[in-house]
Symmetry: C2
Subunit: 234 residues, 2 copies
Amino acid sequence: MKRKANTTPLSKEIIIEEALNLIAEKGVDTFSIRDVAKRLDTYPTAIYWYFKNKNTLLGEIANKVMSSVTPNCSNLDWHDWLTLLFQNYRDAVKHHPHIADLIGGRLLANAYQDPRLLDGVITALLEANCPPSHIVPMYNTVIASMCGFVTMEFGHLPKENAGEWEAKLREGAEKIESCEYPNLVRFLPQMMNTSFILRWQNGYDSPMDESFNRYVDVFIEGLKRQINELNKTP
Amino acid sequence: MKRKANTTPLSKEIIIEEALNLIAEKGVDTFSIRDVAKRLDTYPTAIYWYFKNKNTLLGEIANKVMSSVTPNCSNLDWHDWLTLLFQNYRDAVKHHPHIADLIGGRLLANAYQDPRLLDGVITALLEANCPPSHIVPMYNTVIASMCGFVTMEFGHLPKENAGEWEAKLREGAEKIESCEYPNLVRFLPQMMNTSFILRWQNGYDSPMDESFNRYVDVFIEGLKRQINELNKTP
DNA sequence: ACCTGAACACCGTTCAAGT
DNA sequence: ACCTGAACACCGTTCAAGT
């Protein structure tokens, strides 16, 4: 991974690649320009010749990760295309550890470089028979849904000793009175480490495949139904 | 807002309140323990008597914001309860500028203090006739959907001069060829600043009410349908 | 054009010391 | 118990200078 001194010149691509490595190793919180420079055997300030500041570097990293997301097969049904889009997005985040925090918040600002995503979503909605007057809110619904689950599944969990966090959650679970919250107590055992708010591992260590599939189904079904409704009452 | 020196003692509550003020003013990126100490006329290290580090402070801030989210009226239909939950969540984020980045990623780790949210969601799902064997994935679907749209709507946009960003987006929009992306070009005008990826203002400056309502409808409809399906094929 | 090198104004956090 | 104060090991970023 390490650039041989005085052989390869720097480039945006090399910097981004090394930045992704560092984020994967240590997380986005502790990621620093100085570290990426160190790894590339150069000076922190050299990075500034390629990126005007840390934020734009992070933005281009997000773009890089997003580059594989939009499906380019056009022989798909609209709902298969959307399902594949959602899965591609999840895979992209999954294959770049600790990247989730960045994407959910910054995609909206930086993925514009690729019109294929926007055009693909709109085309899918039109094929689904969405009335043109409702394309914009529906488009927003799709983008938000694409990011929502994945941002949480792979999002930041406290990285202090995982065992400590597990203990804290289990202890909290014990304290819940079954007379006060009978429904919660009934499902608590099977929710431990499999449900949001009750997990001590995130999606990288303990994937939520079944939940994600359910989520996608709910979304696609809701989209169909809602478009049906919209066509009934113009 | 400023604590009078040597009159009020410090407390968790006071620190959290001032931290929320600072985040609202300057954003979560530049929020620092040293700044909140300065505002409270005390030393940075005094904060560490109340919070073991910056991350736990941020966690408790997130908890504070979440404290108003779970509806406590129990005379609601399950879908009205869920709709209200979604709206409460959006309102909470909306009323605490720049807090969105924090919540989406950290709620999952810190909201556990309040079993009412978990119990409420499970109870709503049971009332909706969700089969017990599918409660966990459905619960995850609900939580992810609650956070998804709002995290993006109020999420971080580049804070460099907004005008500059607008210009950049408009320029990019001009370049899109209508022969290559006819559907996108058709809707582009109405999408500018109203759609994810094509906005230069976030939800605080330009709310996405219509899209959010559509999103909630899609989700609730999808939930109904999916539960129907699950009950057909056990 | 591309990188070096020093410098500035910040950080979070630890630790010892005060009251 | 609660706060002061100094110190440490970091940051991002600017600017002038080198090649």
